[in-house]
């Protein structure tokens, strides 16, 4: 049986083909090839051997103590960053949803941290935390909260939280704007009806705003989780995975394994593990938040 295509279908197929071809070359092929690489024991400094090892790289990494540390650090970093970003973003969106003078200007200013390049953001916060000339030390000493300058990023108990703070500063504005857009779409009738029913401000927030925000929240949660779980630039600039292993996250481990140890096989395997973890989390968010929403 011959497939009969209309003129429009054929035209559409012809127009889409070049893009598909490009996608195959720049996306599908690298993805499949990196999976193939992950099944080999490729160490760049040993170019004469690259044995096929099936899933040994995955097995090795899953049993590696560094992987366990990295998962722990990544989880902590992601939970803190996503939670604080989302909560702050809801607050800021609620504030910006009110009508007041200068609202538009504030909306524009809010975007500044988000528009700052990640490298600049990392350097800025590194300087703020600097133990010799950092603004944070100067401020805290002036306020009498500490006696002398401290090496904040050198404290393994604080490192991850301080990096998280730098990430939140950059990520929160976009999250707030995404939520604000959703908030603006909530019909005023709902609030008026709630008021007629005698609902307090808090009750209106819980029973009207929050349910209506779910699509926006889902978007923010998925986006922020995917960004946080794979975050790399701040770790590279601010701590290089240190001190010790205090900021040794999954993306940092992938970098070390691939570009420092030059183990492309295990590096690719780790990348796949991280990708699977990201997909799983995104799916969970969409499944549960999406269902409730429907």
């Amino acid at each position: 049986m011959r497939l009969r295509l209309s003129y429009d279908d054929r035209s559409a197929a012809i127009l889409v083909l070049p893009v598909l071809a490009v996608l195959l070359v720049v996306a599908a092929y690298p993805i499949l090839y990196s999976f193939w690489v992950s099944l080999h024991d490729i160490v760049l400094t040993r170019p004469l051997r690259r044995p096929f090892v099936w899933f040994e790289n995955y097995e090795r990494m899953l049993g590696d103590a560094r992987f366990h540390t990295a998962v722990l650090r990544t989880t902590l970093y992601t939970v803190v960053t996503v939670t604080v970003t989302t909560v702050l973003a809801v607050g800021v969106a609620l504030f910006l949803n009110e009508s007041f003078r200068g609202n538009r200007l504030l909306n524009t200013l809010l975007l500044l941290p988000w528009a700052t390049p990640s490298i600049v953001n990392g350097l800025m916060w590194k300087w703020i935390y600097d133990p010799t000339y950092g603004l944070m030390n100067a401020l805290l000493v002036k306020l009498g909260l500490i006696d002398s300058y401290r090496a904040w990023l050198g404290d393994p108990d604080l490192t991850l939280l301080l990096i998280s703070n730098a990430a939140i500063w950059k990520q929160m504005p976009l999250a707030a704007l995404l939520l604000l857009v959703t908030m603006k779409a909530i019909p005023d009738d709902l609030y008026r009806a709630a008021k007629v029913d005698g609902a307090t401000v808090f009750q209106r927030f819980v029973h009207v705003t929050l349910p209506a925000l779910r699509p926006g929240l889902m978007l923010v949660l998925v986006y922020e989780t995917m960004i946080s779980i794979r975050h790399f630039d701040l770790f590279l600039i601010m701590t290089q995975g240190g001190p010790g292993d205090a900021s040794y996250t999954l993306s940092w481990l992938i970098y070390v394994e691939t570009f420092r140890s030059l183990r492309f096989g295990t590096g690719a395997a780790l990348s796949y593990l991280l990708a699977m973890l990201t997909f799983l989390l995104s799916w969970l968010f969409i499944r549960f938040l999406g269902e409730r929403n429907s």
Partner: protein, 440 residues
């Protein structure tokens, strides 16, 4: 007709080369020249000397440089991709893995380069040798130096630099007690490429080693020098509080700046930094910084320190091609040996401009070089004596690049009080054994 076909092909090759960018361009540019890759150090001096080389020999040079931090990865990816490299700067730490990978060619059969061994410090030649073969000619050779701020010492009534690490503690405590500064000792223990040199210098000064003569790990031995050095570091931070806990955040360059600001009394720095530290344009404490012998640690302590070398290596592809080899050898000799006038002009330039010590023994007699040490280090005697006690890192191996990541973490975890010296260095020794086994 044939002529036309060839020119079409050539034109097409040109187009492909342009489209491929860097590598193609490098190949095209280097036809009849030398492709040289280095890290972004002494760039102006290198460029100036390349101009002189091109003028004196008629050989063109295509020079590329990358930041030091990314250099190894950049070089490896180019070597794996068969980029047309003739000569490259190489760190002694990479020699075994590069030689094993077949990315470096030995120079044993190149008499015009080998003859420089007669005029080079033995330690330098050894550092360029792997499995009995020599792989290059030196770019520079240096060692870790213990440096003191004489002004701070004088303020505290200290007349002589400490000769043992115990004395370092005592003098630091005295400086602290006098209220001169909170942390008299500065060590850059941030996890950058210098950390292994710092901890090797400390370990050697405690009479220790990381591995024995057979390359077996002894770094975790409870009575070994590495554990003793780590314990001393731990106590300096947590017991005596003479070294800031933030040292783990301080990378070498920041340490240099901090010491140059006069905020500390003692430090360990690469010797070549003495010039910057005593330069009024670069350091507040200029004129006050002097090198001293590395303090001895514990009952088996020595004044030994860690030395290293960077050298010019030639690739097998360049060596295999007669014309390329001839040009590359000329280049290496001009830069790492004597120029066409018979002088170590580049070695001397590097020392006078940058403070980079040379492996070539004859230049120590040069009046300009002697003046240099007098001006920037208060004389060259201590530097020369310390140079004689410089030891190659004993952990240089084909698996060094991978092991050193774990090493940095292990030393930092001791400094952070997250692991005992025995546990951290024991685990580090296990990692060494694991990588060594895996390499076979």
């Amino acid at each position: 007709m044939m002529q036309q076909a060839v020119s079409r092909r050539t034109a097409l090759q040109g187009l492909v080369a342009s489209a491929l960018g860097g590598a193609g361009a490098a190949q095209a540019q280097a036809a009849g020249g030398v492709n040289f890759i280095g890290w972004s150090a002494a760039v102006d001096q290198v460029k100036a000397h390349i101009t002189a080389f091109e003028r004196d020999t008629g050989v063109r040079v295509n020079y590329e440089n990358f930041p030091w931090a990314q250099f190894r990865t950049a070089l490896v990816t180019r070597l794996v991709g068969n980029a047309p490299i003739d000569v490259s700067w190489i760190s002694d730490a990479w020699l075994p893995e590069f030689a094993e990978a077949g990315w470096l060619a030995d120079i044993d059969d190149i008499a015009s380069l080998k003859r420089y061994n007669a005029e080079a410090a033995n330690y330098c030649t050894q550092s360029m040798t792997y499995k009995g073969k020599q792989y290059g000619l030196s770019y520079y050779g240096d060692h870790m130096s213990f440096m003191v701020n004489t002004e701070v010492m004088a303020k505290a009534g200290l007349t002589a630099p400490p000769t043992t690490w115990e004395e370092v503690t005592e003098q630091c405590l005295k400086i602290k007690a006098a209220g001169i500064m909170e942390y008299p000792l500065l060590l850059s223990l941030g996890a950058d490429t210098w950390l292994i040199e710092f901890v090797s210098a400390l370990t050697f000064s405690f009479g220790g080693s990381f591995v024995d003569d057979k390359g077996e790990s002894i770094m975790g031995a409870a009575n070994g020098g590495a554990v003793a050095a780590a314990r001393w570091l731990h106590d300096a931070i947590h017991k005596h509080r003479i070294l800031a806990p933030g040292a783990v955040e301080t990378v070498e360059l920041n340490g240099l700046r901090a010491f140059g600001s006069g905020a500390h009394a003692f430090t360990i720095e690469p010797t070549y930094r003495i010039r910057a530290l005593n330069d009024a344009a670069q350091a507040t404490a200029h004129g006050k910084i002097r090198p001293a012998m590395m303090p001895k640690g514990g009952p088996r302590g020595t004044h030994d320190t860690c030395g290293w070398i960077r050298f010019y290596g030639i690739t097998p592809a360049a060596k295999a091609d007669r014309a390329r080899r001839e040009r590359a050898v000329k280049f290496i000799e001009y830069f790492g040996g004597r120029d066409t006038k018979g002088e170590y002009s580049f070695q001397k330039l590097l020392l006078l401009d940058m403070g980079l010590p040379s492996c070539a023994l004859p230049i120590a007699q040069d009046a300009g070089v002697r003046q240099f040490w007098d001006r920037w280090a208060g004389g060259g005697a201590v530097v020369a004596e310390q140079a004689l006690k410089a030891r190659k890192k004993d952990v240089v191996s084909p698996w060094f690049g991978e092991w050193v990541e774990t090493s940095n973490q292990a030393w930092q975890s001791v400094c952070l009080n997250r692991a005992t010296p025995e546990a951290a260095l024991g685990a580090l020794g296990n990692k060494w054994n694991e990588l060594k086994r895996a390499f076979r």
